[in-house]
Amino acid sequence: MAKTYKTKRKNRIHYGSWAFDIILVIFMAAVSIVFIYPFLNVLSVSLSSNRMISTGQVTFFPRELMVEGYKMLFEEQNIWRAYLNTVIIAVGATLVNLVCTSMLAYAMMMPDFILKKFLTIALLITMFFGGGTVPTYLLIQNLHLMDSWWSLILPNAVSAYNVFVYRSFYKGISPEIREAARIDGASDIKILTKIYVPLSKALYATFGLFSIVGVWNSYYEALLYIKNPDMQPIQMILRKIVFATGLSSMSNAQQMIGNGVMNKLNVQYACVVATVAPVLIIYPFLQKYFAQGMQVGAVKG
């Protein structure tokens, strides 16, 4: 009796489990569409005619293909210049970040380093407490870094979190190698550049990519410190076109919008696409390295 009951129950469970699997597969497909749809929709709208946009007929694919939005955007806004600015800032910030963080983390890893404890505490404090918007703004002003890319590169170059992750990564490299090199008369600078740096490529790839994307995506610092319109990064151009007077200053685009040929979303979403595209291009690389990065980060805890 007990046995039959058990088999029956087991069968029911299998049936339920099978149904659960099917529902889960469908649910995850739906969720994936929710993640992707906004991207597809923005791309489609940027390429569709005003007639289709204003009647709400554009969803997954462009309707009545039209590239005028992109034309106007690249003609009337200096997008290439903004790209160049952003690349300079991102590369500069990432280089300063990688170099300074590696050097500091290497020194702090040494068990007998004289400032080890002091620096650990000093960095921990910055994780929980900071000066805030205005004192930093005044500092940048006093250093005469307004309208200089250094204002976007230097303030966040060294973060406590990165230093701690680097340090724990370096600790994972066997100290015997270091000591052996030292017997051969290698200096700390040499040990860092010839042993630790080559062994930490995965770390640098991960944090380098994060830094590049982080800088590419930030606008707030530029809003505070960069007034010169020729020095603005790409996010500020997008902000100007969607949330400020950028679009109304584009006379040809305005004319086309006035005629009903073009929708303002053509230009705005073209700019969104132009802003997102580079990130999506390096996404496969990000994808490859970030799992590693997350593991490295978890070691710290």
């Binding site: 058990k6 659960f20 699997d21 889960l24 597969v25 995850m28 969720v31 994936s32 993640f35 906004p38 300074c100 050097m103 500091l104 020194a107 040494m110 007998d112 380093f113 004289i114 400032l115 620096l119 960095l123 910055t126 900071g130 000066g131 805030g132 918007t133 205005v134 004192p135 930093t136 703004y137 500092l139 002003q141 250093l143 230097l154 170059a157 230093v163 100290p175 000591e179 030292r182 600078i189 860092l192 995506n217 930030s218 606008y219 707030y220 505070l224 997008l238 902000r239 969607v242 705005q268 979403y269 969104v272 802003t275 990130v279 996404y283 994808q287 997350m294 593991q295 978890a298 805890g301």
Partner: protein, 319 residues
């Protein structure tokens, strides 16, 4: 530590009795390596902390932080903020946005990770994961540009409302709909990325536990409840502490973008108020004081939640 003091390491690295100067000399290379990082942290993290002093002073650029006159009474900026008719609303907004964000962005990655973990088919699972991380890499300006269209009276949200026979509303004008938009986009952006850490924990689960559970005839729900959930519980606790600490620190750059003159009073949070008063209106001292008030609350929240956790669950507290 021990290894350092034996053999060759001891001969090279400084001994116990070395003088401070000798030690400094021996470690000159390490000090040199650390110097750029130390300078950057000192200049860009510590000088602004020192700059907080101006919240108690009448800051003038000519006199500098130290030379500016002290306010009389010294807490004048703080009492001014609390006397402001809007301060209650601003503090409430900050809390409301932060709390709602936490309430929805914290559990969703956990649920998503648990469901992904149940998903059969390696390829399919990986594809869903890859897609789910994508929104994380999108900038706040892009998100807000999308929301601008999505939440407008002709946007998708209102198309759905109309489909269900509801009237069209402008989400971007503030109120509950703005909150929905704000929190919804935060969930959309964070759910996939946030699940990584839980999935990593789940991948370490002992598979024999599942074999045993199968023999015992446990159903899916029982397996999730008794195997998967206990595996990620410690991670959950730690992340919860860290997140509660940031409840008053919601991403204000998003609000800053979506604010305009018509919805400002409704959308003002402490951080946007700080920006408006300090950077736009140039009231440096007042703005810094309001920001200090926020920093202190955040600080108390982080340490408070950690203290509570240490009492309840000492193994999982942050420190």
């Amino acid at each position: 530590m021990k290894r350092q003091k034996t053999g060759i390491a001891a001969a090279v690295s400084p001994g116990k009795k070395q003088s401070l100067m000798g030690k400094l000399y021996n470690q000159r290379q390490l000090l040199l390596l650390a110097l750029p990082g130390i300078l950057l942290v000192f200049i860009f993290k510590y000088i602004p902390i020192y700059g907080i002093l101006i919240s108690f002073k009448d800051y003038s650029a000519a006199k500098g932080v130290w030379g500016s006159d002290w306010l009389n009474p010294i807490w004048e900026n703080f009492s001014r903020f609390f006397k402001n008719v809007n301060s209650g609303q601003i503090i409430w907004n900050t809390f409301k946005v932060g709390a709602m964000t936490l309430l929805f962005t914290f559990p969703t990655p956990i649920i998503f990770a648990l469901l992904l973990n149940e998903l059969k088919g390696k390829w399919y699972k990986k594809t869903v994961q890859t897609i789910s991380y994508l929104p994380h890499f999108i900038s706040v300006v892009v998100i807000c540009s999308m929301l601008n269209g999505f939440g407008s009276t002709t946007g998708l949200f209102n198309d759905i409302r109309e489909f269900f026979g509801l009237a069209r509303v402008d989400m971007n004008s503030g109120g509950t709909y703005f909150l929905l938009e704000y929190v919804g986009s935060a969930v959309w952006q964070g759910v996939g990325w946030g699940s990584i850490i839980y999935l990593a924990a789940l991948s370490n689960v002992d598979t024999t536990l599942y074999d045993v559970a199968n023999i015992d005839g446990a159903n899916r729900w029982q397996k999730i409840k008794n195997i998967a959930w206990p595996t990620i519980r410690p991670t959950t606790t730690i992340l919860l502490i860290m997140n509660v600490g940031t409840v008053m620190n919601a991403d204000f750059t998003k609000i800053l973008l979506m604010q305009n003159d018509t919805n400002r009073s409704q959308l003002d949070t402490i951080s946007t108020f700080v920006y408006q008063k300090g950077i736009v209106e140039g009231q440096f001292s007042y703005s810094t004081a309001v920001n200090l008030f926020l920093s202190v609350i955040c600080f108390i929240l982080v340490f408070g939640t950690n203290a509570i956790t240490r009492k309840l669950d000492p193994d999982n507290s942050l420190w």
